[in-house]
Structure formats: structure tokens, C-alpha cells
């Protein structure tokens, strides 16, 4: 468990902490804006973006629907390449396998490139527990490891750190005061981590895609550290989520078109490496031993669930974070889990599949649908957030005040007299708070809303109060409908309903 996950209990409390941090809010907004416009530009430059997204969805859905076949094919081919393949159903199993390899190798240091799966497993802590030092080598990951924190963005993990904070962290590591300009700071990290690459006993990577037909793993990155940890150390361990599979290298073109453009707006990441087994006979570099740990940890629970199976299509680009009004407001740590933003809000409860652990994460969304629109493989994330809320309510887990509020609403709205009296009370109550038609004061029952927003004052005359007048006007002005109009309308509605039932395109994969 990271500090970020334990210091504050609820999403609301963590969000409030984040909202007090001005740099965090500005930086998150600036970075997500930059990534979002880069993505839109890259999609325009590539052209036919919808066709690419659709093909991406088709390939991912097809693979997930036949995951048993492709995973088996991958494992057999990876072994034929000389890799050692391991299956871990739980986080604990994955940790045990990695610890066993590290102990067997007598490893003291593990040089790691970016891997969200290892974050999910809290693998760094597990390695430290057996006296092995894990060292993050992606610049952003290195910074937050020195700070003792966890990533707050899938693509830019140190999005929440200021240059001053980075300089302080690296200076502490250097044992001298470093200048705060980027070349000096990055230069120090390069020198320090170069020693790590050259001396680490084990190199550890994540896996963006795994090619079933050839048993290859594919890693996308910009810095070169993933190439380092898969080239220099004698032993390589790669952690992969079991759903990372695609059938062929040809399919990789679609993923390589969608992933970098959606993540950062790049045509391709600087490095895309396909690794097929350990070094070959006679090779002068590359690992002598390659272990691939295939991790389930809740993923397979989505299979066969019509509402959540498409969650496994995710290619971890972070585009949904960059467009999410909630993420942009509170940053990644407020979600309190490895994955943040809309994808994190769904992944966390879905992977646990334990209704008691479904906390308020799914509520941290405005259901505006921007996430689904940005998703390069068209995952209907906002629908999934609604399914989560529904399941939570079905399990009787909605908050008592919310249930009470709904009951009170029903009682007031169902009775004209009560509604009239409630309105009167409201107008009276808001009088001292209203300015220019809005309420900004952060007190009373509206405080939860007005802390970050303004609330419009009640209308001088409610719709219900105006209804008697409106009804009279309507009766005067509406001419009787022309003969046949209502029949035509009904016919049109019927046709539309038929079309919708016939058009189940979403699950075509």
C-alpha cells in the first residue's frame, strides 16, 4: 500500500486534499490539455480515425472472445523460443513467482522499466521484503520512487511533481545541490541509472502487447530504459496482464497506430521492441534467461460478463484520463488505486468483483461520455460506470442519506401542496445567500456543491406555478393535428424501434 492509498480514506477526502494543491490542479490541467490536443491532432493527421478505432475494437474483441486459444498459443510459442512462462491467478501468486526467481538468482538489484502490472501487484514492496532493491528507471517513475509515492497518471506518472520537488529529490540522491534546469536533472538521472543498468542482476519490464503466433512480447517506450533492462542484465522478468494478447504482427500495426497517438500524439513511440525469447546462441547481448509471468488478478472475471467483457480491450493509453473532467480536477491519487481516471474507476471494482469493496470510486465521474469518445478501442466506459452504480444500488450499498433524500424527493414532488410549501421555504432560506442570481456561499445543505461551483437561485415563479397560465395559452394556440399525422408518427417510431433491435453492431467482434 502506498502513502497515497492509506492517508485518506474516501475518494471525497482524497479529492479534497488534491483540490487544496494548486500546483497539482494546474499541472494536471496543463498536461492533460497538452496530451489531449496532441491526440486530436495526431488522429486528424492519420485520417479515417473512426475506421482505425473500429478495427482496433474488432481485433481486441476477437482476441478476448478467444482468449483461451490465443493465450495457449502464446505460451507454447514463447516456450519454443526458450522463455519460461508462468501463470499467476492472483497477485500473491505472481509475487511468489517473482520472489522465487530473484532468490534463486541471488539478486540484489532489479532494474525496472515502466509496468502498471507491477504497481498493481505492489511488487516493489514485495522485493524489498526479501532484501532485493527494485529501481525504477523510467525518469518519471524514478522520481516518484524517490518520493515514496505511486504514479498519478498512466503515461506521465510524475505529473504532480514540481521542478523544485524533482530537484530536491535528485539532489538528495546525488548528495549535492543540483541545478533545477531540465538538462542537469535529466543528466544526473542518466548517469545514475546507467550504473544501475550495467550492474543490475535482473531486468524487469511490462508488456504492451504479446503476439500469439510467435510468442513475442512487445514494449512501447520513449526513453530507452525498457531496451536497457531487456538487453543488459543476465535475467529478464516480464510481467504481463493475461489480456495483452493480439494474434499476429500484422495486428500490431493497428495497435501501434492507436496507442502512441492516443497516449501522447506521437506517430510511434521512439522505441517499439519485439522480444522473442532469450539471447540466441552466439548473440553478444540480451538476457540468458527470460521469464514471462502472465497475471490474471481479477481480469478473467470480466469474461462472459456482457457488461464488462470489453473492459479487457483496454490498451492502457490514458486518453480517457486526459478528457475526464473529474480526473482533470482531482488528479490520479484521489482515486486511491493503481489505475486512475475513468478506466481506473471501472477497473478497480470490476477486477475485485467483491461488492463490499466497491467504494465510491464509480461515483467520481460525471457520466459525460468524453472517456468513451476518446477511447481508441471504443470501450463504453460511461455505460460501465452506470452498470457499477446499478449493481451497487442492487446490493443495497447506496449511501443512507442518498436513499433518504430520494424518499423525501418523492414525497415532496408527489404532492402539489407540499411542493408549494417547500418552494416557499427555499426562497426564504436562500435570500441572504443569493447574489446576481447565484449562490456561492459554502454553508448549509448546498455546501457540498458550492465548494467548487455556484448554484443558481430558485426561479421567481416555478414551472408548476406557471402551468395554469401556460395551459390556457396552449389551448388557445394549438390547432387540431392534420388527419393522418399521428398515424405517420406512430409508424416512424415503430420503424426506429425495429432498426435499433436489428442493429447490434457493438458485439460484432
Amino acid at each position: 500500500m502506498s502513502a497515497a492509498e492509506t492517508t485518506a480514506k474516501t475518494v471525497k477526502e482524497r479529492a479534497e486534499e488534491a483540490l487544496r494543491d494548486d500546483f497539482l490542479r494546474q499541472s494536471v490541467r496543463y498536461t492533460t490539455d497538452r496530451l489531449r490536443s496532441a491526440r486530436l491532432q495526431a488522429a486528424r493527421d492519420q485520417g479515417n480515425w473512426e475506421a482505425w478505432r473500429e478495427r482496433g475494437r474488432q481485433i481486441r474483441s476477437h482476441t478476448i472472445a478467444h482468449l483461451d486459444y490465443y493465450l495457449n498459443q502464446f505460451a507454447e510459442n514463447a516456450r519454443a523460443n526458450g522463455a519460461h512462462v508462468h501463470f499467476a491467478e492472483t497477485a500473491e501468486e505472481a509475487v511468489r513467482i517473482v520472489q522465487a526467481i530473484a532468490q534463486r538468482k541471488g539478486a540484489r538489484t532489479v532494474a525496472k522499466s515502466k509496468s502498471m502490472v507491477t504497481e498493481e501487484l505492489h511488487l516493489n514492496k514485495a522485493l524489498e521484503d526479501i532484501g532485493v532493491q527494485p529501481i525504477e528507471t523510467d525518469l518519471g517513475e524514478y522520481i516518484i520512487q524517490l518520493a515514496g509515492e505511486t504514479p498519478s497518471h498512466i503515461i506521465i506518472p510524475s505529473i504532480h511533481k514540481t521542478r523544485r520537488q524533482v530537484a530536491d529529490l535528485l539532489s538528495r540522491e546525488a548528495g549535492e545541490e543540483l541545478p533545477t534546469d531540465t538538462p542537469s536533472l535529466a543528466g544526473f538521472a542518466r548517469r545514475r541509472l546507467r550504473e544501475v543498468f550495467l550492474t543490475a542482476d535482473i531486468g524487469m519490464t511490462g508488456c504492451n502487447f504479446a503476439i500469439a503466433e510467435t510468442g513475442s512480447i512487445v514494449v512501447f517506450e520513449n526513453e530507452g530504459n525498457a531496451r536497457m533492462v531487456s538487453t543488459v542484465p543476465k535475467t529478464q522478468i516480464t510481467l504481463m496482464g493475461m489480456e495483452r494478447i493480439i494474434p499476429t504482427w500484422a495486428d500490431l500495426e493497428v495497435m501501434a497506430t492507436l496507442l502512441p497517438r492516443s497516449a501522447t500524439g506521437q506517430r510511434l513511440t521512439v522505441y517499439m521492441s519485439g522480444i522473442s525469447g532469450p539471447r540466441r546462441e552466439g548473440d553478444g547481448d540480451g538476457p540468458e534467461e527470460l521469464h514471462i509471468v502472465i497475471v490474471d488478478n481479477g481480469r478473467s472475471l470480466q469474461l462472459g460478463d456482457p457488461e464488462f467483457q470489453e473492459l479487457l480491450n483496454c490498451i492502457r493509453c490514458g486518453a480517457c484520463l486526459n478528457v475526464c473532467p473529474v480526473y482533470r480536477h482531482i488528479g490520479g491519487h484521489a482515486y486511491g488505486s493503481t489505475y486512475s481516471g475513468p478506466i481506473g474507476a471501472v477497473l478497480k471494482p470490476a477486477f475485485k468483483k467483491n461488492i463490499l469493496e466497491w467504494d465510491d470510486v464509480a461515483d467520481a465521474s460525471s457520466l459525460c461520455g468524453a472517456c468513451a469518445e476518446a477511447c481508441p478501442v471504443k470501450i463504453p466506459l460511461h455505460d460501465m460506470l452506470v452498470y457499477l452504480r446499478r449493481r451497487k444500488v442492487e446490493a443495497g450499498r447506496a449511501k443512507p442519506p442518498e436513499a433518504l433524500g430520494m424518499k423525501a424527493y418523492a414525497a415532496v414532488m408527489g404532492d402539489a401542496g407540499r411542493f408549494r410549501r417547500a418552494l416557499k421555504l427555499g426562497r426564504l432560506g436562500m435570500k441572504p445567500l443569493a447574489r446576481d442570481g447565484f449562490i456561492r456561499a459554502r454553508i448549509g445543505p448546498l455546501a457540498g456543491w458550492t465548494r467548487h461551483r455556484v448554484f443558481p437561485v430558485l426561479a421567481g415563479q416555478s414551472f408548476r406555478e406557471r402551468w395554469a397560465h401556460l395551459e390556457r395559452e396552449l389551448e388557445r394556440e394549438l390547432a387540431p393535428a392534420a388527419p393522418g399525422v399521428s398515424e405517420r408518427l406512430e409508424e416512424a417510431l415503430r420503424r426506429r424501434a425495429e432498426k435499433r433491435e436489428g442493429g447490434v453492431e457493438r458485439h460484432g467482434g
Binding site: Q58, L185, L268
Partner: protein
């Protein structure tokens, strides 16, 4: 002795993994509500959409596009008239960078450049020509790596390099600068054209490392400020030559 014990340990792990594999895959099939799929399923959506597969640039356009896209990400790309010109370019850059050592892949095309005679006073290493040496350390100490692209892609401005006993992955990774000879005949329009060739090789003939390199190493992890050359080479020259 120790090796034998280690092999035995690995064999035990593998046996355990195979048992587990069947249980895990049976579980996946059960969740999907059907028996295990053991025959290759029809894959109607393989690869890029048709409109994209029809996209092809002329050889001239490919060169122009590669150069423009490579420069856009901070790389240096030039079209040179001959290999002799490329050899002179590389020798000039090695001196300009103040490299005390240069390391190149052990390929006939690179041997033909005659860097050894052009770079008097600079140590020119040839990858893995004495297998007992520590070649990673040699690459780490070189100021410039020199390779030939196995393939290149115009649309993504990518250089593709395949590992082999005579072609180290370290040569394109550890030195702070990299020079790549790109024969124009190996330059394709789309990424998919190269990927189809990799599919075509088949698993048995794949090298351990297939690396797509599209510009200099970069990071924007410190306050979004772009920095070049974090871990991999910060200076990359792509030299396109005819043939």
C-alpha cells in the same frame, strides 16, 4: 553442478506452469460459457483496414516523407549520393562529437565504409568479433554506434534493426550518438509492410530482438519539459543511400 541444479529447478517450474496453464485456460473457457477453443478461430479483422493497405508512396515520396517525419521528432536525416559520402559523414561526426571509440555492427556493408582508415586515432570496434569480450561494456564506452537498417518505414520515420550474433542490440542503444545507414531499397511506406515480413519469417526464424527506432530517446517527465537523450542515444543520424 550448480548449472545442473538450476536446470532442474527451471524444469520443475515449467512442469508446474504447464499444469497451471490447463487449469487457467479451462477456467477461461468456462467463464466464456463454451468448451475450450483448440482450432485456430477465423480472424476476419486481421491487420490494418483495407483502405490503409492500399496506401503506397513512390520511392521518392518515401524518402521525402521519412526525412520530414524523422526531423519532426528531433532526429537528423539526410539523403546521400553514395556510401563513400556516408563514410565521410560518419567520420566527420565522430570527430565532431569527440568520440574516443566508435562501435559498429559486423556487417559487410559497414566494413566497406573503411571507417578504420578514415578514423585514425579513434578506436573502431567491431561487434562481437572476439566472443569472449564484454561487448556491452565496449558499447557503453563508445561515443558513436554505427548500424545498417534492416528495414525502414516512411510513415512513422522508423528504423528497424534485428539482433544477431554479428548485430548487437547494444550498438544502437548504449552510445550517446547513433548513425544508421538506410539503403533506399529497404524503405517502405507503411509499418504493416515490415510487420508482414516478420509474420512471414515465422517463429523459428525470428531473432531475439526486433527494434523499431523512431528518433532520439526522449522524456517529458519533468514539468512537461522535453528532454532528449535520457537513456538511449540523444543524437540519431539516418543516412539514406541509394541501393
Amino acid at each position: 553442478m550448480a548449472d545442473e541444479k538450476h536446470r532442474q529447478w527451471l524444469a520443475e517450474l515449467d512442469a508446474e506452469s504447464r499444469r497451471k496453464q490447463q487449469a487457467v485456460l479451462d477456467g477461461l473457457a468456462a467463464k466464456l460459457g463454451r468448451p475450450r477453443v483448440t482450432e485456430r478461430p477465423p480472424h476476419p479483422f486481421r491487420g490494418a483496414p483495407d483502405f490503409w493497405n492500399a496506401y503506397e508512396l513512390t520511392p521518392e515520396e518515401r524518402i521525402e516523407r521519412f526525412i520530414a517525419n524523422f526531423q519532426a521528432v528531433g532526429g537528423h536525416a539526410f539523403r546521400l549520393a553514395s556510401l563513400e559520402e556516408a563514410a565521410r559523414f560518419i567520420a566527420d561526426k565522430a570527430r565532431e562529437l569527440g568520440a574516443s571509440a566508435v562501435i559498429r555492427q559486423d556487417e559487410p556493408l559497414l566494413a566497406g565504409l573503411g571507417l578504420e582508415s578514415l578514423l585514425t586515432g579513434i578506436d573502431v570496434q567491431v561487434w562481437n568479433d572476439r566472443p569472449e569480450d564484454n561487448w556491452t561494456a565496449r558499447a557503453a564506452n563508445a561515443g558513436l554506434g554505427v548500424i545498417v537498417a534492416d528495414y525502414a518505414v516512411a510513415h512513422t520515420a522508423s528504423i528497424v534493426t534485428l539482433s544477431a550474433p554479428n548485430k548487437g542490440r547494444s550498438v544502437s542503444l548504449l552510445p550517446p550518438a547513433l548513425a544508421v545507414i538506410v539503403p533506399a531499397s529497404r524503405l517502405y511506406t507503411r509499418l504493416g509492410e515490415v510487420l508482414a515480413r516478420i509474420d512471414g519469417m515465422g517463429r523459428e526464424r525470428l531473432p531475439a530482438g526486433i527494434h523499431f527506432i523512431s528518433g532520439p530517446s526522449r522524456s517529458a517527465d519533468i514539468e512537461n519539459d522535453l528532454t532528449i537523450g535520457v537513456h538511449g542515444p540523444g543524437i540519431v543520424y539516418a543516412l539514406i543511400v541509394d541501393g
